[in-house]
């Protein structure tokens, strides 16, 4: 993936903002942007019916997308364009919709009217993510702050993708993750390797985990992989 140099950002986007707010309602947009700025980030407000809607997902790598009630009908598209490490938060007008958006896979939701302070706290926690907690399985530790996995204190010397793969699987114990899901969550959207790339990395990861821990990652035939401690 080519990151553009700072002095030559593309013509349409002059300020680098990595949060997108989807709404055509200026009042709602302003309120949400306020909460976003409280997390130290700058939001870009756009509506889902605008032509450049999808471009926002390809030209930027948003870390957070807020979908306001008037744009909830495009939530499915947002989830489809979702990339690794992108969080999605839905704003609801009624709590009746919460089952629906949770099923769609959003990371969090909030029901309007809401306190901007509450949303800011939720966003801050979400953006820090679960990445702060170390995952320990017997002698195996996965340490997010140093991007490292160790067995009995000895580093496994994982590459970034191997580390991400292990962390991702271990964060969802017992859950079967398809190759496509893993590819979408860990690799860049414009990565040209397909789902077999996941197999290649799993094989390497298992080799590094060694005989004692390699069977933590189970192959689910014709589906994908799961982590089972």
């Amino acid at each position: 993936m080519i990151s553009r140099s700072a002095n030559s950002s593309s013509t349409t986007i002059s300020v680098r903002s990595n949060v997108i707010i989807l709404t055509a309602d200026p009042m709602m947009g302003k309120r949400l942007a306020g909460a976003v700025s409280a997390t130290g980030r700058r939001a870009h407000i756009t509506a889902a019916d605008q032509d450049d809607f999808s471009a926002h997902f390809t030209d930027r790598s948003p870390e957070l997308v807020l979908v306001a009630p008037d744009n909830l009908d495009r939530l499915a598209d947002v989830m489809a364009w979702r990339k690794a490490n992108m969080k999605v938060v839905a704003v609801l007008e009624t709590a009746n919709d919460c089952e629906l958006v949770v099923e769609a896979g959003v990371d969090d939701f909030i029901v309007a009217p809401f306190e901007a302070e509450e949303l800011a706290v939720r966003l801050r926690r979400l953006l820090q993510g679960d990445s702060e907690s170390t995952i320990v399985v017997e002698g195996l530790s996965i340490v997010p702050e140093s991007y490292e996995a160790t067995i009995d204190g000895r580093s496994l010397k994982l590459t970034f993708k191997e580390y991400e793969l292990l962390k991702h699987l271990a964060s969802n114990p017992g859950r079967v993750l398809t190759r496509q899901t893993l590819l979408d969550q860990i690799w860049e959207y414009d990565y040209y390797g397909g789902t077999r790339t996941v197999d290649v990395h799993v094989r390497r990861l298992r080799a590094k985990l060694g005989s004692r821990y390699s069977n933590l990652i189970k192959t689910v035939r014709h589906v994908g992989y799961k982590f089972e401690a």
Binding site: S5, Y147, T159, T195, T197
Partner: protein, 441 residues
């Protein structure tokens, strides 16, 4: 800062890395490198590192001499043949112009463009190359280290240790090796890389060639990928196994077909066969490449496909039950001194053309093609690969397929450069001519 960049920053600090080499490849496939210190790394991720492209083969255009190398954090690896304390790491770079747009002369960008085209059609390309090379005492001659043969074990295979260390180095760099063994010719070896997506594999091939040479040098010998270093012995090939996948499904596989090849698989082969002549200049880019593509040394000469016949240009490995994921085709003409980014680009472009245009696969060549007469081959519709670089360039120059796959910049530069090479070769008077003509004419 993105997480993968942050990962690199942390690793550089934790592992006490002192230099980070930025790697990219020129049009002829030579690895280019410059080093930065950790202090520069953060800026390099944000803005790239500027360099003067005017002295890089195939990058030359005066108005475009300012170029930017953008490091790809996913390719970060510590170089295992450098000291472990205060070590050296590398990242492959994409070359851009100062405005951030991809530079048309960067082979990595050429391959990306072709992969994007495949991706639009829903395909991912996987490749597994088998690179052969020789160990010689030094780079001045072709004095072999051993007289071993195919699959020979020690003591005839004296280079076992060199090969083993190379495999360790590759594995340490995250490049999985499938097989390694002594090849047919004396002092000839082969290390086969496990399949990967085409972009990662092109990077791997560049790393592999350097690793083989670095480790040979450590052992006090010289390794070469020259296509045909010794007359009368097998040359160095790079057979390329390839397949297209749609999601988790192998697009080349069809359970109901006698050959177990799908329509797409067949058309892909047909595309490669039909355009074989045009892409040969890229897959076999040196004057010397054509000394390998002659009858009698296991290298392909004739344009045909087969399941059993290993002298065919395209071989389809026999299907093993339950191994539909492994259904693939093997192109046997390329040699390991090609530019892998461009070679993968053009073979895929030829195959995709076959799929898009729905080419019909010719009949399988079952007889030994070398035993057929010219007339018999013609009747069977079996053509020949270009006999020399001159013929290959002519076919490449007029090829729309090649122009589209390489882009005008690379196509034009490549043809110009290769014409100059042929001319320089033609101006020589060889030892053969002196030996055969001087005494009698």
């Amino acid at each position: 800062m993105k997480k993968d960049q942050d990962f690199v920053m942390k690793t550089v600090k934790d592992q006490n890395i002192k230099f980070i080499r930025f790697w990219f490849t020129d049009v002829l496939g030579f690895l280019k490198s410059f080093a930065i210190t950790p202090a520069e790394l953060e800026t390099a991720f944000e803005e790239g590192m500027g360099f003067d492209g005017s002295s890089i083969e195939g990058f030359t255009r005066i108005e475009e001499s300012d170029m930017i190398a953008m490091p790809d954090p996913n390719t970060f690896q510590i170089l295992p043949w450098r000291p472990t304390e205060q070590g050296v790491a590398r990242m492959f770079c994409d070359v851009t112009l100062p405005d951030g747009s991809p530079f048309a002369g960067d082979p990595r960008q050429v391959l990306r463009r072709n992969l994007a085209r495949a991706s639009k059609l829903g395909y991912t390309m996987y490749v597994g190359p088998e690179l052969e090379y020789f160990y010689f005492e030094d780079s001045k001659g072709t004095e072999v280290l051993d007289h071993g043969g195919y699959f020979d074990l020690t003591p005839l295979d004296l280079a076992t240790d060199h090969r083993r260390d190379t495999v360790f180095a590759l594995e340490a760099m995250g490049i999985p090796v499938e097989y390694s063994h002594h090849e047919v010719a004396p002092s000839q070896h082969e290390i086969d890389l496990r399949y990967s997506d085409a972009l990662a594999m092109a990077d791997n091939v560049m790393t592999y060639r350097l690793a083989v040479k670095e480790i040979a040098q450590e052992h006090g010998v010289y390794a070469t990928f020259m296509p045909k270093p010794i007359a009368g012995e097998n040359g160095n090939g790079m057979h390329v196994h390839q397949s297209l996948f749609k999601g988790d499904k192998n697009a080349f596989y069809d359970a109901n077909d006698e050959t177990h090849l799908s329509t797409e698989g067949k058309s892909y082969i047909a595309g490669i066969l039909k355009h074989a002549g045009e892409i040969t200049a890229i897959c076999n880019q040196w004057v010397n490449s054509y000394k390998r593509l002659v009858p009698g040394y296991e290298a392909p000469v004739y344009v045909c496909w087969s399941r059993r016949n290993r002298s065919a240009l395209v071989r389809v490995p026999m299907y093993k039950p339950g191994k539909e994921q492994a259904t693939r085709i093997e192109l046997r003409s390329p040699d390991p001194s090609c530019n892998p980014y461009l070679a993968f680009s053009v073979m895929m472009a030829a195959g995709l053309e076959g799929i898009e245009q729905g080419y019909e696969l010719p009949t399988e060549a079952t007889d030994n093609i070398y035993d057929m007469t010219e007339a018999e081959r013609q009747k069977a519709g079996i053509g020949s690969l270009p006999r020399d670089l001159h013929e290959a360039i002519e076919l490449a120059e007029g090829s729309e397929l090649l122009k589209k796959a390489l882009g005008d910049h690379v196509h034009e530069y490549f043809i110009r450069n290769k014409k100059a090479e042929v001319l320089a070769y033609d101006l020589q008077v060889s030892q053969f001519e002196l030996d055969h003509y001087l005494g009698s004419l």
